[in-house]
């Protein structure tokens, strides 16, 4: 069994409520931080822990906190990003539903560290039932003196408010989220200025993912140095992985960074292997935005080393033969899966979710969707494949926010690793048209696909 830091108490009956959570060591980090540490010391511990942002970008959280503008007298804000919408990712929903107080505890300690007296949880509108759970937890914490004015008689005050979104993937991007929280369309802002100087209401703001903030309590309790001993040098701690697709046991797993991908897919403790005794064809390791990898490259790097579940190992090989840990949305595809159909599916998603601000993304995602639709439906042309690569190159790096890159990579990587499958679609339109929902028996025999 790997070490659990976030989900270790998840099976305790009643852990959703304040009393049981408190009896099991809950809120001790609030006492420790507020009574015995200065805000700077809390920031320092988080820096020492080496924890990287769990939302997808993987930027060191302590460093981000360090950017907070201290020169102004304006109020400072902490925003918890609970707009979890990356296809393949459902860990934050799980964490908030099962352990709401773990998040609230983390928010109190983090807000204290950032000298913020107001914290907003921006939650996607679809998770409305979780708003009730969070509000209940907030009220309980308030009643017990852990929130509101003069927390634990330390003089520190904090209010936490839950703010619903209304269905927009783009609001997971931090500046779009801030715009949305200000009551506007979710159009990302041009950076700089970064939110740490000009964020919510043009005030210094830090936006962190649910999982990152939930880990702050345990980090303060055990100390940053201790936390950094878990996992690998560059990927410290544990990570929640949302696993889905063609596996025996889909669900949310807390892993110690650095276990092998093979163990994660095949061991009974995690995914439990591929469903229906089929073979593994491909994996999207970090949510739909990261490059897809064929079985051979996800299990082993191009150098022939075992691929590990960590930021650096998954990225090994760059775009040519690597991918990214991203948000930890781990989608597994069996040998009968159609990569072209899946790529079309993801591209349709990005086209739908593009905010429309930058032309390369607004138009490019639509073009890619159209071209992929026609290849997938047996009407493609051979030159379409390179056309897709060209469109993706014209989107990548040419947009205000990373949604453009997120839309370009799945297409470019699918063609890089599975070009034969695209060519097959163009070459045998009759066979392609006969399929039902893209399933074709023995597609892996007809094509030259890895494993």
């Amino acid at each position: 069994m790997g070490r659990k830091i976030l989900l270790d108490k998840i099976d305790i009956p009643g852990i959703q409520g304040f009393d049981v959570y408190r009896q099991n060591g809950g809120y001790t980090s609030v006492e420790k931080a507020l009574k015995t540490m200065s805000p700077e010391q809390v920031v320092d511990e988080v820096k020492k822990s080496g924890i990287r942002g769990r939302g997808g970008a993987g930027f060191p959280a302590g460093t981000k906190w360090g950017f907070m503008d201290k020169s102004t007298n304006n109020p400072r804000y902490l925003i918890c990003n609970a707009d979890e919408s990356e296809p393949g990712t459902f860990k934050d929903r799980y964490l908030m539903e099962k352990l709401p107080h773990l998040l609230i505890e983390g928010l109190i300690v983090s807000s204290y560290a950032l000298v913020a007296n107001t914290c907003y949880i921006y939650i996607r509108g679809e998770f409305k039932y979780i708003i009730g759970i969070l509000n209940l937890a907030i009220n309980e914490a308030k009643q017990k003196g852990f929130l509101g004015k003069n927390i634990l008689s330390t003089g520190y005050s904090l209010d936490i408010h839950v703010h619903p979104g209304a269905g927009a993937y783009i609001c997971g991007e931090e500046t779009a989220l801030i715009e949305s929280l200000e009551g506007k369309r979710g159009n990302p802002r041009i950076k700089p200025p970064f939110p740490a100087t000009k964020g919510l209401y043009q005030c210094p703001t830090v936006v962190n993912n649910v999982e990152t903030l939930a880990a702050v309590g345990p980090i303060i309790n055990m100390g940053g140095v201790e936390y950094a001993k878990i996992g690998t040098d560059k990927s410290t701690g544990t990570k929640l992985i949302s696993s889905s697709g063609h596996i025996m046991q889909p669900g949310v797993y807390e892993i110690e960074m650095g276990i092998t991908v093979e163990e994660f897919i095949y061991s009974k403790e995690y995914c439990g292997g591929i469903k229906n005794s089929k073979k593994l064809k491909a994996v999207v390791a970090g949510g739909s935005s990261v490059p897809v990898l064929p079985a051979g490259l996800i299990l082993n790097t191009a150098k022939g080393e075992k691929r590990l579940m960590s930021y650096e190992s998954l990225a090994d090989g760059g775009f040519e033969s690597g991918t990214m840990l991203g948000s930890g949305g781990f989608i597994v595809y069996d040998e009968d899966s159609c990569i072209v159909r899946n790529t079309w599916n993801f591209t349709r998603f990005y086209h739908h979710e593009s905010c429309g601000q930058c032309s390369p993304c607004r138009e490019g995602t639509g073009w890619m969707e159209k071209v992929l639709y026609r290849i997938e439906h047996g009407e493609g042309r051979m030159e379409d494949i390179d056309l897709l690569v060209s469109i993706s190159k014209n989107i990548e790096g040419n947009t205000i926010c990373p949604l453009g890159d997120a839309a370009a990579w799945p297409v470019a990587s699918a063609i890089l690793h599975f070009r034969e499958e695209f060519e097959f679609h163009v070459r045998y339109p009759e066979k392609i048209k006969k399929r039902d929902h893209g399933n074709i028996e023995n597609i892996h025999v007809l094509q030259n696909v890895s494993i």
Binding site: P75, E84, S85, E86, P87, G88, T89, F90, R93, R124, G125, E126, F127, K128, Y129, I131, G132, D159, H161, H163, P164, G165, A166, G167, A168, Y169, S180, E182, G183, K184, R185, G186, Y201, S242, S244, G245, H246, P250, G251, V252, V284, S288, G329, I331, Y333, S337, R341, N342, N345, F346, F349, H351, H352, E353, S354, C355, G356, R362, G366, H437
Partner: protein
């Protein structure tokens, strides 16, 4: 979203008066108080969720103008938000909106078949409403339930690991629930905001 069909629809002005009952107005004031003075526009999305539910499931110009007045902002500031987010509807919807996830894991784990089955069962296509006004069928992008695929959302509830039998039961239950009159409507104002 920019390519969402709602963008091309003309907002409906019905000249019906709309206002929040006193109890909901109290809640609205409480929501506005969560944001700093002068930043009341932040309450727009929560208020639109509440208004939409109170107005029977959609937003018309009358409702949006009313919200603009409450927040002391221009009506166009409300329209541009209402047309951006996919959870706001500008046309009357069925009592139950079946939103079937079609992205990623749901697509590879039977989400497309689920959609086909519901279409056949209700005799409607995506975007349509049954003639009795009970069900509207929609396809949506990732609902964040990938490990429980295939999933759909009906109004405020999530339904997971769907198959034909489950869909039959869900639809039967909703049909009988629709007529027992017990259902309370103000969930957004009471529970979610």
């Amino acid at each position: 979203m920019q390519n969402n069909e709602v963008n091309h629809k003309i907002y409906i002005k019905e000249n019906k008066s709309f206002f929040f009952p006193e109890k909901i107005m109290e809640k609205v004031k409480q929501i506005i108080s969560r944001y700093p003075e002068g930043k009341q526009k932040s309450a727009l999305i929560p208020l639109l969720h509440i208004s939409q539910e109170e107005n029977g499931g959609y937003l018309n110009v009358d409702v949006m103008d009313y919200v603009a007045k409450i927040l002391n902002i221009q009506p166009v500031e409300v329209y541009e938000v209402a047309t951006f987010y996919s959870q706001f509807y500008l046309e009357k919807q069925g009592k139950y909106i079946l939103e079937v996830c079609q992205t990623g894991s749901c697509a590879i784990c039977g989400g497309e078949e689920v959609l086909d089955y519901i279409k056949e069962k209700l005799g409607i296509k995506e975007g349509e409403t049954t003639s009795d006004g009970l069900f509207t069928l929609k396809t949506v992008e990732c609902l964040g339930g990938c490990g429980y695929a295939p999933v759909m959302q009906i109004n405020t509830e999530f339904y997971e690991f769907l198959d034909q039998k489950k869909i039959d039961t869900i639809i039967d239950q909703l049909r009988s629930k629709a007529f027992d009159g017990k259902e309370k409507c103000s969930t957004w104002a009471e529970k979610f905001c």
